[in-house]
């Protein structure tokens, strides 16, 4: 019962954010801001990926993952279209949310592989350790992406040395936050509940299928 209420609440929040993104798209069309029309359009499509996965492939992502994806996209698009990146620490907030999303995704993947796949076994602290490092490494890849974009297209994705160090620091904090939350959730059994549907679906559709193919 409680699980269903959380799920329904989560779905409502996710759809409100998606509607807000559509409003942002309309604003960018009205302002003839080509770059952000493309950005908002792409963001809306990506935010519907969890819904598409569920409808077409019967893969149910945890509702928190859905909300995190939509929130990260909404903050980025909103920041660009409404000029919120000019607000102090807004960029830090978007970096934190995106990194937290990556950390959450990494934790979910490692946890499911640990639970359902024979090829990987890790205790919760080793998982937490790896989640922190993976999040930092993904932050570095993101910075490479911005750096190379700036070099090739002469853009201003990276705002400077101090800003990049701050971004990397925020990425690390997000990774540590998720690692702590993840360990606490595993201890309480709530992480298992959260990833149960997705884990069983991946087990059925990918892991067991792969094993059957190997045995044939």
């Amino acid at each position: 019962m409680k699980k269903n209420i959380i799920k329904t609440g989560g779905v409502i929040v996710s759809y409100i954010l998606k509607i807000l993104m559509i409003i942002l798209l309309i604003i960018s069309i009205y302002n003839k801001h080509i770059e952000w029309i493309f950005g908002a359009g792409l963001g809306i499509i990506v935010s519907f990926v969890p819904t598409i996965l569920k409808r077409n492939y019967q893969i149910t992502l945890p509702i928190i993952l859905d909300i995190l994806i939509t929130t990260a996209l909404f903050l980025h698009i909103g920041g660009g279209i409404l000029g919120a990146y000019g607000i102090i620490h807004y960029d830090t907030l978007t970096h934190f949310v995106s990194s937290f999303l990556i950390a959450f995704l990494a934790f979910v993947v490692i946890y499911i592989l640990d639970e359902y796949w024979d090829g990987l076994m890790m205790d919760k602290y080793a998982m937490a350790f790896l989640v922190v490092f993976t999040t930092i490494a993904m932050g570095v890849i993101w910075e490479f992406n911005e750096w190379i974009t700036d070099l090739i297209f002469k853009t201003q994705e990276q705002w400077g040395y101090n800003d990049t160090i701050k971004d990397l620091f925020v990425d690390m904090l997000a990774g540590i936050a998720m690692a702590i939350i993840g360990v606490v959730m595993i201890k309480r059994g709530s992480f298992d509940e959260l990833t149960e549907d997705l884990g069983e679906q991946i087990d059925k559709k990918i892991i067991k299928k792969g094993m059957n193919k190997k045995n044939e």
């Binding site: 090829g119 990987l120 076994m121 890790m122 205790d123 602290y125 080793a126 790896l130 922190v132 490092f133 993976t134 930092i136 490494a137 932050g139 570095v140 910075e143 490479f144 750096w147 990276q158 400077g160 040395y161 101090n162 990049t164 160090i165 990397l168 620091f169 690390m172």
Partner: protein, 208 residues
């Protein structure tokens, strides 16, 4: 340890003496911050020897050589300012240090994977772990450079391009050792390297 490794031991002794010489040089130069760093580096370089003697674990001598060399290269940067004349030297030191960190973690992960009940992963996962850990250590190193710059105005970090270049060199170091690690695992070299940990591991990690 075995007499047949006398040449490796000699290299280690030469490297430690070189570090002591650089310590004296830094004191003579009145660069006391680098005297402090050099002293710390000498102590860290002696840790494998201490482990060998105190805990009786036969850590390969290659570790000592790699660690000492990485520190000496960094001293060349900070103390002797080689990178002022040869900018590529800074990237080389980063690459080499990343290789050393990656090599140490490759061994640590492999040992945990082999002897610790809580972790069992395949070699591709080990390769992935080595790369992300090395990249993360590169970031921690940049934090340290930023902090030392902030506190002591060392100007270790002149620009964003330099930082990104450092991180790129670190990533390459991680990828390089991950690829080498694949062959070392396949050919059983890491197993031979780490066999001495087997009998100690339960005492060190799984005390229960």
């Amino acid at each position: 340890m075995e007499k047949k490794y006398w040449y490796l031991k000699s290299i280690i002794i030469i490297l430690i003496f070189l570090m002591i010489f650089l310590l004296i040089f830094s004191i003579n130069k009145e660069d006391f911050l680098w005297s402090f760093f050099t002293l710390i580096m000498i102590i860290i370089s002696l840790i494998p020897t201490l482990i060998r003697h105190k805990i009786k674990i036969k850590i390969p001598y290659l570790f000592d050589i790699f660690i000492s060399l990485a520190f000496i290269f960094h001293m060349g940067n900070g103390l002797l300012d080689i990178s002022t004349n040869f900018s590529i030297y800074n990237k080389f030191t980063h690459f080499f240090s990343a290789v050393v960190v990656a090599f140490i973690f490759l061994n640590v992960i492999f040992i945990f994977n082999e002897y610790y009940r809580g972790i069992a992963v395949n070699k591709y996962k080990i390769m992935f772990d080595v790369i992300v850990i090395t990249m993360a250590f590169g970031v921690v190193w940049e934090f340290m450079e930023w902090t030392s710059d902030f506190l002591f105005n060392l100007n270790a970090q002149p620009s964003l391009d330099d930082t990104m270049g450092d991180l790129f060199a670190d990533t390459l170091g991680g990828i390089f050792i991950a690829l080498i690690g694949y062959f070392l695992i396949n050919r059983g070299v890491l197993k031979r390297f780490s066999k001495d940990f087997k009998k100690h591991f339960n005492n060190l990690v799984e005390k229960d």
